[in-house]
């Protein structure tokens, strides 16, 4: 099929899904079926587009937003990787959502599926965007479309969290990200994603230093400290939304944007010459350690996972900033690996909540015996986060270590080791108590979660395993990035 048509299908399927969800809002079954079918169609289209990603030449230009800046899309490897990830997880997440939303009798389900579809369409737009402005537009739409999801419960507590969510994400993006984009435009007069970067050699390094910081902190979705506050706040949302935030779209959109900017705007060659790159690596390193430490101290399961995400995101930022070919590949792969692992963990947390209304860590004693599927999946996810083979997390961590050794960055090595220990420190006790401690008496009525939830769980846990054994699908894509570097 014509790749440009495929690209249009990819961009339009979630939009069509949103419209149809609205039309069929009265008929819950049809509505949910539409979401599922669109997800499958989208994934198929993305898979069909896959072979064209290497050429880096498929373009779709819609109109000019400003006289010299077009609203355009371009298929390239990194975006393809992200699109594949998001569309694949959308299928699974939809299955899970159907189980979760019905299982918990959540209100406003139509709004939920509607906003979800819009969020996915902006994720697709973001991953396929051909220039920085297009990327920014979808970045903002993603923020706004996920706001109703975060505040789904509609309580004042949800509103407060939503305030933090929107305040940090919209605020940072308008105050810093947009600033950086316009500044870039005024220096280079182009915003195209160009292999080899768009800055010429004679640009003032001081300006580049500030620009880099503006980008890193302006992309609040990447949750580098002190921009991380929104992630724990967003924990009020229902679990499928947390999965969307942590695995499918939002945080991934953040680190994806940073990686993309590093590769196509700055270019790795230039990045290492910018004085503040080092600073960003340090900040990312501290974020990893501190977030892991906070996660270690948490008593609430979802909050613990949120802080774990913050630390894992900074791995990606750190990897991107190292800017060696191995490190960049590590960044790209970790986007995928972390997504598979973290979505499994969130699904498991949601599954536990649906089945037993438990949210605290100390309530989980012996739960592995009652909900074996859930807890096995949780174990796989947790071990992948720690980075043990044979799981996805191992591969990306391996590449990152290689990248760090290449440039002999002992700081990065130390950070990886300490955080791995901390990760083990907060995941292993949970796994231990879930399987080896006996459940409190009188909890016989708790059963395994509804079937769709279990299916979704098994799928993502399976993906975490498969990724280790067959990483070629993604590594070939990332290898083609190497050509660009």
């Amino acid at each position: 099929m014509n790749p440009v048509i495929l690209l249009s299908i990819i961009l339009l399927t979630p939009v069509a899904c949103a419209v149809l969800v609205l039309v069929f809002s009265r008929f819950a079954n049809i509505r949910d079926a539409i979401s599922l079918i669109s997800a499958i169609v989208l994934f198929t289209a993305v898979c069909l587009l896959f072979p064209f990603a290497y050429s880096n030449s498929i373009e779709l230009k819609l109109f000019n937003l400003f006289p010299e800046i077009a609203f355009k899309f371009r298929v390239e490897s990194l975006g393809m990787l992200f699109a594949t990830l998001a569309s694949l997880l959308w299928i699974i997440n939809t299955i899970y959502s159907i189980g979760y939303m019905r299982g918990n009798n959540e209100k406003h389900q139509t709004r939920f599926y509607l906003c979800f579809a819009i969020a996915i369409s902006s994720t697709m737009g973001l991953s396929m965007s051909g220039n920085l402005l297009t990327l920014f537009i979808f970045y903002e739409i993603l923020t706004l479309s996920t706001y109703p999801l975060v505040t789904h419960k509609g309580t004042m507590a949800a509103a407060k969290s939503g305030r933090v969510y929107l305040g940090v994400l919209l605020g940072s993006s308008i105050a810093f990200f947009l600033f950086a984009i316009i500044w870039t435009w005024s220096i280079t007069k182009t915003l195209e994603f160009t292999p080899g970067g768009i800055f010429s050699k004679d640009v003032d390094p001081a300006a580049l230093s500030i620009l880099l910081l503006l980008y890193v902190f302006g992309i609040g979705k990447a949750a580098i400290m002190p921009m991380h506050r929104w992630l724990p706040a967003a924990m009020v949302a229902p679990t499928p939304v947390s999965a969307l935030l942590h695995a499918v779209a939002v945080v991934k959109a953040g680190v994806f944007s940073i990686t993309k900017i590093v590769i196509y705007i700055f270019s790795p060659g230039l990045l290492v010459k910018i004085p503040t790159t080092e600073l960003v690596i340090y900040i990312a390193g501290f974020t990893i350690i501190i977030a892991s430490w906070i996660a270690f101290k948490q008593t609430n399961l979802k909050r613990m996972l949120a802080y774990s995400t913050i630390s894992q995101l900074s791995y990606i930022i750190m990897a991107a900033m190292l800017a060696t070919p191995f490190a960049i590949i590590a960044a790209a792969l970790h986007i995928v690996a972390h997504a598979f692992g973290k979505i499994t963990l969130f699904f498991a947390a949601g599954s536990i909540y649906t089945a037993s209304r438990k949210t605290e860590l100390n309530q989980l004693n012996g739960i592995g015996k009652i909900m074996p599927w859930t807890m096995v999946a949780f174990t796989i996810g947790g071990l992948s986060m720690i980075g043990l083979p044979p799981l996805a997390g191992f591969i990306s961590k391996w590449y990152l270590l290689m990248g760090a050794i290449n440039v002999q960055s002992w700081f990065v090595l130390a950070v990886i080791i300490i955080s791995t220990l901390l990760n083990a420190g907060y995941f292993l006790p949970i796994i231990y108590s879930a399987f080896f401690k006996s459940p409190p008496a009188g909890e016989t009525e708790i059963k395994e979660a509804p079937l769709p939830i279990v299916i979704a769980l098994v799928c993502t846990a399976g993906l975490t395993l498969i990724f280790f054994f067959f990483p070629t699908v993604f590594t070939t894509l990332t290898q083609s990035l190497k050509g660009i570097l």
Binding site: F63, N64, L65, F66, P67, F71, L133, F136, I137, E140, I141, L144, T151, G154, T155, M156, A158, A159, G162, R163, L166, G167, L170, G171, I174, A175, F176, L178, F179, I182, W183, W185, S186
Partner: protein
């Protein structure tokens, strides 16, 4: 026929205004005003197309007396853009006003109201098309006098005192303008702007010419509510009938700023204004204070009309900032923002109109849970609010883009940071309303409230859609604005 469009733009509402007084039927007078403002809108569209395709400005000699003897109407790109936005806003507000006026103004006064409305429109359009300095003053007074009357028709008695304050300030401003024009005339013997532009450069050394510039700038600054001479604005916008607030917020201050641009860039030499008069730093400093002051005060308001009024003061700061940069991109950013802000602020005021129509007030503390009762109204507020904040794909984003690139072009990083900071404040004051509307539990009083009638919602949503449309198709608000700025600098 086409050659007469320019004068028809002013003549049609002027002739229709007294006719309004003669009509007794409310529906009929509304129909007349809608048709008249609709015709003005179509004319302005046609004129905009004509200007954009022709090399030179359109001119029209009143009574066939050629310039510089006779009064000349002259429409270049910037004038065409402003005329377009003024007549667009006038048309939509006219459509909206039929229902919204019902509660606000006594039935027998409605023809008078519409008569004043059309006079105000005449004045505003007149300012944009005229090429004669004194004629500009006359049109400014026509629009101002009409707007004093319009404001005084507010329901609340505070409208009277607000209108009176505006009258005092406005008259001082207009008289300053008159003095300035008189002094220019004393030296050049002409009132035609093109003619003035040719004769003034040789005379810039004269003190009284310099003084005339000072009088004109201060007079127009008062009219356009630049900080610290903005004090008439919050009261006037708060207490006027909502249609009037919406109309004036979108047009009156913008047209005054247009007049200022006219004098600074067409009549006087802009290089003089920068290098000798040091208007650049003066404008920038006042603009920054206005941006901060307006946004911070907007945060504190409970009355949403007043909140929007303070927000307007901040936005006027943006407009002056663009002028103060004295660069092509700065000026084009101002023109862009004149256009966008007119749409944004009018939309927001019309939203308040829907609320006032249903609830009788627009107090933030009593709007809890309104999002569920009036979903379309609140959604309109959200979209227009996002546009005010400057989220991509809305009109407001293009302004922000233009303004920030203009400040970055001259490497005023602090100004850029300030612009960004004030947009953060805008997020806060807009989001206060969104949270109250969607998250706070509604009180018993609002439970019976239903969505506003279609007669209000349709004009409102026309503007909402334009908010998005002009965020995507930037031909007018970016490209044309750029051309306008280029030609203003070239002349």
């Amino acid at each position: 026929m086409q050659s007469h469009f320019l004068v028809l733009l002013v003549a049609i509402p002027l002739i229709a205004a007294p006719v309004c007084v003669l009509i007794k039927s409310r529906a009929l007078v509304w129909a007349l005003v809608s048709v008249v403002s609709g015709i003005c809108f179509l004319l302005s569209v046609k004129l905009l197309i004509l200007v954009s395709t022709s090399e030179t400005a359109l001119t029209y000699a009143i009574g066939f007396w050629d310039a510089p003897v006779g009064i000349q109407y002259r429409l270049d790109m910037v004038a065409a853009i402003v005329a377009f936005i003024v007549s667009l806003i006038a048309f939509i507000v006219a459509l909206y006003s039929r229902v919204s006026l019902k509660d606000e103004i006594k039935a027998e006064k409605i023809p008078l109201f519409y008569s004043a409305y059309l006079l105000c429109l005449t004045g505003l359009l007149g300012i944009t098309v005229t090429g004669d300095a004194f004629n500009l003053f006359v049109f400014m007074e026509i629009s101002s006098l009409a707007s004093y009357a319009l404001i005084s028709m507010g329901k609340n008695r505070a409208a009277l005192i607000s209108s009176f304050r505006y009258l005092i300030m406005g008259t001082i401003g207009a008289t300053f303008l008159l003095i300035g024009i008189g002094l220019m005339y004393a030296h050049t013997g002409t009132l035609n702007m093109t003619d003035l532009a040719q004769r003034l450069p040789a005379l810039l050394g004269k003190q009284s010419v310099q003084v005339s510039l000072a009088f004109i700038v201060i007079g127009l600054a008062i009219k356009s509510a630049l900080f610290p001479v903005h004090i008439w604005l919050p009261g006037a916008y708060t207490h006027a009938p909502i249609s009037v607030s919406a109309f004036l917020a979108g047009t009156a201050t913008k047209v005054s700023i247009y007049a200022l641009i006219r004098f600074l860039f067409t009549v006087f030499d802009q290089t003089y204004a920068v290098s000798k008069a040091h208007l650049g730093p003066a404008f920038i400093i006042l603009a920054v204070v206005a941006m901060l002051f307006g946004s911070i005060l907007a945060l504190k308001q409970d009355n949403l009309k007043r909140m929007l009024a303070y927000s307007s003061i901040a936005q006027i700061g943006y407009l002056f900032l663009g002028i103060g940069l004295f660069s092509v991109s700065g000026l084009s950013a101002t023109i862009t923002h004149i256009f966008n802000h007119a749409i944004i602020k009018t939309t927001l005021f019309l939203v308040l109109g829907c609320m006032i129509y249903k609830l009788g007030h627009a107090q933030l503390s009593q709007l809890n849970g309104i999002g569920k009762r009036m979903p379309w109204t609140t959604a309109a507020f959200v979209i227009a609010g996002l546009s005010l904040i400057g989220v991509p794909l809305t009109a407001g984003f293009t302004s922000k883009w233009a303004l920030v690139s203009a400040t970055l072009e001259q490497e005023y990083l602090i100004l850029t940071a300030l612009i960004m900071f004030t947009s953060l404040l805008a997020i806060v004051y807009i989001w206060r309303v969104v949270e109250a509307a969607y998250f706070k539990e509604h009180e018993t009083k609002t439970t019976t409230v239903k969505e506003a009638p279609l007669a209000l919602l349709i004009p409102l949503w026309m503007l909402v859609i334009l908010n998005i449309y002009f965020g995507i198709d930037t031909t007018i608000n970016i490209e044309f604005a750029r051309q306008a700025a280029d030609s203003l600098f070239g002349s």
